[in-house]
Symmetry: C2
Subunit: 397 residues, 2 copies
DNA sequence: TTGTAGGCGTTATCAT
DNA sequence: ATGATAACGCCTACAA
C-alpha cells in the first residue's frame, strides 16, 4: 500500500491530513512538524484529455478562495451562503466560462434528463410529427431526446430498448413495430421502474401510460361520411390483424355501419401488411367480383395513396367510380389528385401529450397513476370522397 | 472533522486503515488491536434511489470474491486476468444481470458516445431522411443520437448549440437554419475541440468537415434537361439570397445556360423565402409580363409543389403550358400530377456520410484533416418537364 | 456561514 | 494475476 510518507523522516504512521490547497490534499507530519503536499505524478490523463478540460467547480473554488462545496451551493443560490460570497462565485463562474458537467450531475443525482424514444421509422411523416412534438415539449423543459428506429422490426426494437435502457434515460416513449406481438422485452425493462409511455401502437398488456389516436371515432367519422355520400359497399384496406390500430379502426368502421343500421359484409375487409403488392392484391380481388365496392377506406394515408395510384392506373375515376378515404392526414393527401379525405390525428399533439404524461409521472412519483389519453382528431373532407358533389375546383391552391 | 474513532477506546490518533471489505473501508485501532467497520448511517440516498439501483462492478466483486478492478478487467477480457477468474466473473455478471453504467464510463473516459444533431425541422422529409441516415450509421457503431430542432430560427439554433455542447457530446452534426448568417455561436464552441460536421446548409467560414449535396451539378442537370426539352425562358424560384444552397443551385443554373451558349436574363431569377405567398408573388410577376417563362425550376421540391398547385389553380397545364422541376426528390413529387421532375440528393447517404466523417475524425484524432465530401445524386425525370413527349400513362402505378 | 469527507460507478496506474 | 487507490466532477450530510 503506497501510504503517504513524510519527505523528511520517511515515516508513515506520523502523517495527518491538513486540509486542501488548491484542490490538492495537504499533509502534516507530527514528528517533523512539517507540512507538505504530494507532487502529482503525471497520471494517465494527459495529452488529449487536457485540452478537452472544462472549467470545474474546483477551478472556481481556487479562484475565489473558497471550497468546492461553497461554490456548488453558491451557484444554486443556497440560502446558507453569504451574498458577498455568492456574488464572487457567480462572477468567477462567468469569467471562467463555467459550464456544469451534466454527466457528473447525472451520475450523482441518478437522473439524466434524457428521454429515450423508439419509433418504427423517422421518415414516416406521422412519426416525424410525433417526434417533433416530443422534441419541442422535452426541450422546453430542459430534457434531451435520444432517438432510435426499429425499422418495423421486432428484433431491432428489442435491441433498441435494451441499449436505450442501459443509458440511464429518465423515461421511454415508444411506439411498437408492426411486427411486435410479444412484449417480454418491454416487461423485462419495466422492473427498473423507468417511466414508460406508449403512443399510437400501444401495448395493452403493460401498466403504462398511453396516448392514443382516436382510432374508433376517427374511423367511424370517415365511414359515416362515406355512408352519407351514398356509398354502401365500403371496402377496407386494413393492416396486419394483430395490430392495435387495425383492431380499433375496424371497430370504428363496424360501429358506423351499426349506427346507420346497415349490414356489413366481411368480404369487404382485407388485412394487408401495408405493402404495395398486398394492397394491389386486395383491390384486384374486389374488382374481380361481380359486385364491386363503391368506396375504399384505407386505414392509413400511405395505403390510401397507394390505392389511389393503383386505381388511377386501372383507369378508374375517383370519386366518380369509387371513393377513397385514408387516415392520418399526411401532407401527401393534399397533393394527390383528387385530394384525399382523411382523418387528422394531430400527430404533433400526440408527441406533446406523451411527453407531458412522462413529466407528470416524474413530478408525482409514486403518487402518479397511469393514464390513457385519447387525442381527438378531426375529419378532413376533401374531393376523393365527394361522390355526390365532386367539383375539382374545390382543390386548394 | 469527524475523524474515525475507535469504538473501544474512543481515540482517533490510533486508527489505521486496514483494507476494504465488501466495498466498505475497514479500520484498525493500534491500541486496542481491534478491527472494525463504520456502520453506514443512512445517507441521503434512500427510498427512491434504492430501487433504481443497478448491479455494479462491486456487486460482482463481492459475489465472486475478487476486487472491483479485477472484475473490470475480466469483463473486458484483459490478458492479465486468469481464465478461471474471467469465467467466474462473467458468470456472475450474467446471473446478476450486470449492465455497465455508461454514465460512469463516460465521466471517466470523457467520452459519451453521443452525437448531437441540429436540424432546422424534423418534419421536413429531406431532414427526416438525413436524420434516418445519421441514426442508422451511428447506431451501427454503438453511438447514440441526440436531436435538436432550430425551427429555422437563428436564436433557437444558437441556444441548441449551447445546450448540446454542455452535454458532453462527442460530436456535432449540424445544418444551419435559413436565418443563420453569422456563425459566432459556432466558432465559440469550436474552441472546445469537439468535432463538428456540417451538412447541406454549411458554414463556409469554419474549418469543419462538410457534406454537400451536389448542388451545382444537380441544378445544372435539371436545367440542361429543361433546355433539352426545348425550354429557353427558364425561371427560377430560389431561396433567400444569403443561403448557401441558393447560391450553389443558381450557379448550376447559370452554368447550364453558359454550357448551352444561351443568354440568360436576370429577371427570371426570383429570390423568395420559400413561403407560399412569396412564391405566388414571384409567379404572378412573371405571368403579368408579355413574355412568359416556359419552365420554372424550383430549387426545392416543396416550392415546386407549391408552384404546381398554384399553376394548376391558375388553370395552366403542366407541362404543356409550362414545365416545372424541383430539387430534392421528396416523395410528394411522385404523388403530384403530373409527377415532378427533380434531383435526388440521396439524403440518407448525406446523413450516413456526415456520421462517417465524424467517425474518421474520432479515429484519426490529430492526424485527421478536414474534408469536404460531395454526395452525387441523380436526375429524376418525370412528366412535369416532358414538354416534347408528355404521356400521362408514364406515371408510375 | 463555510469546510471536510465520502459517494455516485468505472478505470488506469501503481504496487504486490 | 490481482488488489488498492485516486480520479472523472458534482453533491450533500455533517462537523466546525
Amino acid at each position: 500500500m503506497p501510504r503517504v510518507k513524510c519527505p523528511k523522516c520517511g515515516k508513515v504512521e506520523t502523517i495527518l491530513k491538513s486540509g486542501f490547497v488548491r484542490g490538492v490534499q495537504r499533509y502534516y507530519c507530527k514528528e517533523c512538524i512539517y507540512h507538505f503536499t504530494l507532487i502529482k505524478k503525471g497520471r494517465y490523463r494527459s495529452s488529449s484529455f487536457d485540452n478537452k478540460r472544462q472549467t470545474t467547480i474546483i477551478d472556481i473554488a481556487k479562484a475565489v478562495g473558497v471550497s468546492a462545496s461553497t461554490v456548488s451551493r453558491a451557484l444554486k443560490n443556497h440560502e446558507d451562503i453569504g451574498s458577498r460570497t455568492k456574488a464572487l462565485v457567480k462572477q468567477a463562474a462567468i469569467e471562467l466560462d463555467y459550464q456544469p458537467n451534466l454527466l457528473a450531475q447525472s451520475l450523482n443525482r441518478r437522473e439524466t434528463h434524457v428521454i429515450g424514444v423508439v419509433v418504427p421509422d423517422i421518415e414516416n411523416p406521422f412519426f416525424a410529427s410525433v417526434l417533433s412534438g416530443i422534441q419541442h415539449t422535452a426541450s422546453a423543459s430542459g430534457y434531451k431526446v435520444m432517438i432510435y428506429q426499429s425499422n418495423e422490426s421486432h428484433k431491432t426494437e428489442a435491441a433498441n430498448i435494451q441499449t436505450i435502457m442501459n443509458n440511464w434515460i429518465d423515461g421511454l416513449l415508444i411506439c411498437h413495430s408492426k411486427e411486435t406481438q410479444t412484449f417480454e422485452h418491454l416487461k423485462l425493462q419495466m422492473k427498473k421502474g423507468i417511466p414508460i409511455v406508449h403512443f399510437d401502437r400501444i401495448c395493452e398488456e403493460t401498466a403504462t401510460s398511453k396516448v392514443l389516436l382516436d382510432n374508433v371515432t376517427g374511423a367511424k367519422q370517415i365511414v359515416t361520411h362515406l355512408l352519407n355520400e351514398g356509398c354502401r359497399r365500403i371496402a377496407v384496406i386494413a393492416g396486419p390483424k394483430h395490430l392495435y390500430i387495425t383492431k380499433k379502426r375496424i371497430e370504428g368502421y363496424e360501429s358506423a355501419f351499426k349506427n346507420a343500421n346497415i349490414e356489413l359484409n366481411e368480404r369487404w375487409i382485407a388485412y394487408t401488411d401495408f405493402t404495395k403488392s398486398s394492397i394491389h392484391d386486395a383491390i384486384d380481388n374486389w374488382l374481380m367480383e361481380e359486385i364491386k365496392p363503391e368506396a375504399i377506406f384505407c386505414i392509413s394515408d400511405n395505403s390510401a395513396i397507394l390505392t389511389m395510384m393503383y386505381l388511377k392506373h386501372l383507369k378508374l375515376k375517383i370519386p366518380e367510380d369509387i371513393c377513397v378515404a385514408g387516415f392520418g392526414n399526411d401532407y401527401t393527401g393534399r397533393i394527390i389528385e383528387p385530394a384525399l379525405t382523411t382523418y387528422d390525428p394531430h400527430a404533433f399533439k400526440v408527441g406533446e401529450t406523451a411527453t407531458k404524461l412522462f413529466f407528470d409521472q416524474v413530478i408525482l412519483g409514486d403518487k402518479f397513476e397511469i393514464k390513457t389519453v385519447t387525442i381527438a382528431g378531426e375529419l378532413i373532407v376533401r374531393s376523393s370522397s365527394l361522390k355526390r358533389s365532386y367539383n375539382p375546383s374545390d382543390e386548394e391552391a
